[in-house]
């Protein structure tokens, strides 16, 4: 990986990641699904060294499960997202760890601010949660476009009981 390559790709990678964040905040979930490759994985591990096929994870979505997750959110009645969460995905500390013209590894700091309103005095509503995480992406590049091969979200709070996480980080 040459530093020249990083320089020319850095802006494109950052814009890609900011756009992913905005699609999620705007709940444009079909478009978010389209950012992944066919074997793309969305993973929220307990430990990034785990084997997701053998060790428990907080979430491990292949393409089909990711599709089913979005189906549920769009067609409902998904009571745990009624009312839905409002989110702000803050993506920062973007570092390109390595790669070449066809793929690269990117590390980011992600903080998702989540608000769930509705009738806020009721139990289970009216809360604000903060979800800080170290994210690692494997991005694939084809035809001037980036796609996500793997999105790994290492939650700071992973050893604690995890609140309602039926929206997408």
């Amino acid at each position: 990986m040459t530093s020249e390559w990083v320089t020319t790709q850095r802006i494109a990678i950052e814009q890609f990641l900011y756009r992913e964040a905005r699609l999620l905040d705007e709940r444009r979930l079909d478009e978010w699904l389209g950012l992944f490759t066919d074997d793309g994985v969305y993973w929220i591990p307990f430990d990034p060294k785990d084997d997701p096929l053998a060790d428990p994870s907080i979430l491990y979505d292949d393409s089909e499960l990711r599709f089913q997750r979005v189906c549920r959110l769009q067609h409902g009645p998904a009571y745990s997202q009624m009312p839905p969460s409002t989110t702000l995905h803050v993506v920062t500390n973007i570092e390109i760890l390595g790669g070449d013209e066809s793929s690269c590894e990117v590390s980011t700091a992600l903080v998702v601010h989540e608000v769930r309103a509705g009738d806020h005095r009721q139990h289970g509503l009216g809360y604000q949660h903060v979800w800080p995480a170290r994210c690692t992406y494997m991005l694939r590049r084809a035809e001037e476009k980036f796609m996500i091969d793997k999105k790994t979200v290492l939650l700071a709070s992973r050893a604690l009981p995890v609140p309602n996480l039926t929206f997408i980080l």
């Binding site: 428990p56 089909e64 549920r72």
Partner: protein, 442 residues
């Protein structure tokens, strides 16, 4: 003229009685049973801090020196494997000034040392070191002995139970007829044992008894889980591989199929057999060749008839708060009248193909836990219950479903339809016996 002591006793009885009504008109439970703080404290004292509760699994403390921390109601304890290979239940509090000794969920050690003044205890709780002992009267260590021991600790099929009460029935007597159902769960591992893995943990803002009722409720899935079932039967465009087609749980749960059991000890089951030709064990569906081998192993070990019974989608409830489910052990922890923590441990089977455990694990995770497509919707219902009942209206909640069709045998085992409220009635009867009893049991 009644003296004050008698009058107070009468008041105490009124406070603790009358939350469960079983009469001609049906079976009813008072809203206050889910909200009242004094009642909650009594549950902690009389149930969790007296009678048998689940505190861990043998697979979590295999080797001498290993320990896990656990809770019996509000009481923190340590379950440790001693040097002799025995299990010890220790009250997690230094005998000096009451400091908690252990703040890891699990670990391995030669001894427990208090961070406050350095007092040290062996794995079996014996006090083996008092820092600068000379300044204490002679014989203090002998007088204290060591950490307070949990008076009763026993395991059955790898499940470790403990009781703080001074005189409780044996674990065997406590479990009674639910033992046969624990066996059906435990026998599902062809290698003869399960290893419990790191749990999925979540909380909800509601009373612990909602989760207990819900896990053996066959009536709710088609309603609460409508979105999850629909989504899980969707395929990606282009997928036409019938061998790997997901189950259509919406259709399955719309039909009345299977049964419930309720026992006089408060235990219960929810049971749903799979279709004979389905490559299914519990709720997980396997690729045909993987299923062939897996079910073959069960048949070899247990014979065809029992192997078939092992394939049933079965939830076994052991009063007051632990469930043995298809692929996991679920423990319900009360934290406050309106706050509960649930820990769900994937039970890794032994002696099976890696694909079997992989499918079981992924099936569990996609449905249950904080990110599941099924479980989180139950939490919303529990929160809604807690909101609605805060001021005690409606006063009485209805648990009369399936009473007429229920068959009760001479030993007190009730069998109902899959969606019958048989398990809930068994729970509340036992709850009433303990919480509303005169005087303390044990």
């Amino acid at each position: 003229m009644i003296d004050e002591a008698t009058a107070l006793q009468g008041l105490a009885m009124d406070q603790w009685s009358g939350h469960v009504r079983e009469e001609e008109a049906g079976f009813f439970v008072a809203a206050s049973a889910y909200t009242d703080s004094a009642l909650y404290a009594r549950e902690m004292e009389q149930i969790f801090e007296t009678l048998w509760v689940y505190v861990g699994h043998e697979s979590e403390v295999r080797h001498p020196g290993e320990y896990v921390t656990a809770w019996m109601g509000r009481q923190p304890i340590i379950v440790a494997r001693t040097k002799d290979g025995e299990l010890a239940g220790l009250v997690n509090a230094c005998r000096h000034r009451g400091t908690v000794l252990c703040r890891d969920g699990s670990g391995s050690t030669n001894a427990f040392r208090c961070p406050y003044h350095g007092w040290t205890y062996a794995l079996d709780g014996r006090l083996i070191g008092i820092t600068d002992r000379k300044q204490y009267p002679d014989g203090l260590a002998q007088q204290l002995g060591g950490l307070l021991r949990v008076p009763h600790l026993e395991s059955y099929r790898g499940l470790v139970f403990a009781a703080l009460g001074s005189s409780v029935p044996s674990l065997d007597a406590y479990l009674g007829p639910i033992r046969a159902h624990i066996d059906l769960w435990a026998d599902g591992s062809p290698g003869g044992e399960y290893v419990l893995r790191r749990p999925h943990r979540f909380r909800y803002p509601g009373n612990w008894k909602y989760q207990v009722e819900n896990t053996v409720d066959g009536y709710h899935p088609r309603f609460v889980h409508e979105s999850g079932f629909k989504a899980l039967s969707q395929r990606l465009v282009g997928e036409s591989d019938d061998e790997h087609a997901p189950r259509d749980l919406s259709t399955e749960f719309a039909t009345e199929h299977g049964l419930t059991r309720g026992f006089s000890g408060g235990h219960s089951t929810l049971e749903r057999p799979p279709g004979p030709d389905e490559p299914v064990v519990g709720l997980a569906r396997f690729a045909p060749e993987v299923f062939e081998r897996y079910s073959g192993q069960l048949i070899d070990r247990h014979g065809a008839e029992r192997a078939n019974n092992l394939r049933v989608n079965r939830h076994v409830f052991i009063f007051p708060n632990v469930f043995l489910m298809d692929v996991n052990v679920r423990v319900v922890h009360p934290l406050a009248p309106d706050l509960t923590e649930v820990n769900s441990y994937f039970a890794e089977a032994s002696g099976v193909d890696a694909e079997v455990n992989s499918e079981r694990l992924l099936d569990l995770q996609k449905r249950l836990g904080s990110t599941g497509l099924v479980g989180p919707d139950d939490m919303e219902v529990f929160a809604r219950n807690q909101t609605a009942l805060a001021a005690g209206r409606p006063e009485w909640l209805v648990f009369s479903r399936g009473i007429e069709a229920e068959i009760v045998d001479p030993l007190g085992e009730a069998v109902g339809t899959y969606s019958s409220e048989t398990p809930q009635r068994a729970f509340w009867r036992r709850w009433s016996e303990i919480v509303e009893a005169e005087g303390r049991e044990g």
